[in-house]
């Protein structure tokens, strides 16, 4: 299959490029760690916070907000760092579907790695109260997949419309809010250790949103890249 071969080659190229510079990965990792540390210091200005009743809620919501902004920063770059000449070259050798697929898969890998590392750092600083750790971990992976699929498509649109960060935020937040609401609900269930089967409905909706986004991206990207 030509599409799979092209996607695979472009994906390898993305990984090799990233491996050589390690710019996106290190940059966003540093961003996440600093944010977690700032939150840690700020929240601990109030003594007794870790023992308070609302602590688990803040723990969960704060984590997702940190991941959300890290994802915006990491993925906004995916189309913006490519020069015009290089994009033209890709388009002459690969199909548009392969380009958007390889970008999406690469972003999923990057975000999964980043959010797992972020979760580790976060759990070190903030006392962990998660009851069902494996389920929480699964939610984090699902979250990084959903963020990547949505933000990759939006960053492709934003990069065509003048590459500014404001536009990226405006376009992506309405789309990402339902996703993040579902994620917070899911991860709160994991935190409280609620029976897993009760969350299957939410996981189903989350996967359905992902399928819709990937399908529309595959359909629409061929129109987007032509200039």
């Amino acid at each position: 299959m030509q599409l799979i071969n092209q996607t695979w080659d472009l994906l390898k190229k993305e990984i090799v490029l990233e491996w050589r510079s390690k710019y996106a990965f290190n940059g966003v990792l540093l961003y996440v760690v600093s944010t977690v540390f700032i939150c840690y210091i700020s929240f601990n200005l109030n003594p007794g916070f870790a023992g308070s009743k609302s602590y688990p809620i803040v723990w969960n919501v704060l984590f997702w907000i940190i991941i959300l902004f890290a994802a915006v920063n990491a993925i906004a770059k995916s189309f913006m760092q490519e020069g015009k000449g290089r994009l033209l070259y890709y388009y002459s050798i690969a199909s548009p579907q392969a380009i958007i697929l390889s970008k999406t898969i690469y972003n999923i890998m990057l975000m999964s790695l980043l959010s797992v590392l972020a979760l580790l750092v976060y759990a070190v600083f903030f006392v962990n109260t998660v009851a069902d750790s494996w389920y929480y971990f699964l939610t984090v992976l699902l979250g990084s997949i959903s963020f990547s699929t949505v933000f990759t498509m939006i960053s492709a649109i934003a990069s065509k419309a003048g590459n500014n960060g404001t536009l990226m935020a405006i376009l992506s937040f309405p789309v990402i809010i339902p996703v993040i609401l579902l994620l917070i609900r899911l991860s709160k269930n994991a935190m409280d250790g609620i029976q897993r089967s009760l969350s299957y409905g939410n996981i189903g909706v989350l996967l359905a949103i992902n399928v819709i986004v990937i399908a529309t991206a595959l359909l629409l990207f061929p129109f987007l890249w032509r200039d």
Partner: protein, 224 residues
């Protein structure tokens, strides 16, 4: 002659709306606890959303057509339908909020239905901002068409699916009855269904007028 230039359906829509206004306030309605006479808001609130969905759907259809053909007129139809839809969106939100004040006790009560409606509204505001951010006409038309197609399914998920998954106070969500045997009878249906159709056509009429104004402007600015 093209459908939007014909007069008969505009007259019919106005007459039907006059009928629903009079009938909506005077005809009998089922007496239900909490709702009482506010049930008449159904005649005005739900048709706004039907009108909005109609023009948004037309907008998406013309965005797809634009991507396939590149005809500037299709982009003008898509954008004016989206603008009209946003207007009906605001009307739907306001009528819903007024009703919520008298039945739920507050204009905004952090209900999932209200919240997702507000989020989906942001989607179409973003569409307007996106259009303004690009100067080049064809590029603007293409990118906003893509965003429009992308936003529509998300809007449907937000308004129609997500609130049904949680406990919402809104009728039809979270196990609450709506359009069912419990709260609606045939006296209401003979007003409600004509109102759906008539308001949808009013929305199409507004959008077509705005499109025609745009078309004139577009032709004037053309370099011959």
């Amino acid at each position: 002659m093209k459908f939007i230039y014909q007069t008969w359906w505009k007259v019919a829509a106005v007459l039907v709306i006059l009928y629903t206004l009079i009938a909506g306030f005077l005809f009998g309605v089922p007496t239900l606890p909490i709702l009482h006479e506010t049930i008449r808001n159904t005649y005005f609130h739900v048709p706004m959303w039907i009108a909005m969905f109609t023009v948004f759907t037309i907008s998406v259809i013309y965005s797809i057509k634009y991507l396939n053909s590149g005809k500037e007129e299709y982009d003008l139809i898509a954008v004016e339908c989206a603008n009209t839809g946003t207007f009906f969106y605001v009307l739907g939100l306001i009528t819903g909020m007024l009703w919520a004040k008298y039945t739920w006790g507050a204009f905004w009560s952090n209900d999932p239905k209200q919240n997702s409606a507000a989020i989906a509204f942001l989607l179409y505001c973003a569409y307007a901002v996106l259009r303004n951010s690009i100067d080049e006409e064809q590029k603007r038309a293409k990118i906003s068409a893509i965003y429009n197609i992308f936003a529509f399914p998300i809007m449907v998920v937000l308004i129609m699916i997500l609130p049904r998954m949680t406990d919402s106070l809104h009728p039809g969500n979270g196990g609450n009855p709506a359009f069912g045997k419990l709260d609606m009878d045939n006296r209401m249906r003979i007003v409600l269904y004509p109102a759906f159709i008539a308001w949808a056509f009013i929305a199409i009429w507004i959008a077509s007028l705005r499109y025609r104004i745009r078309l004139i402007e577009y032709k004037r600015n053309e370099i011959n």
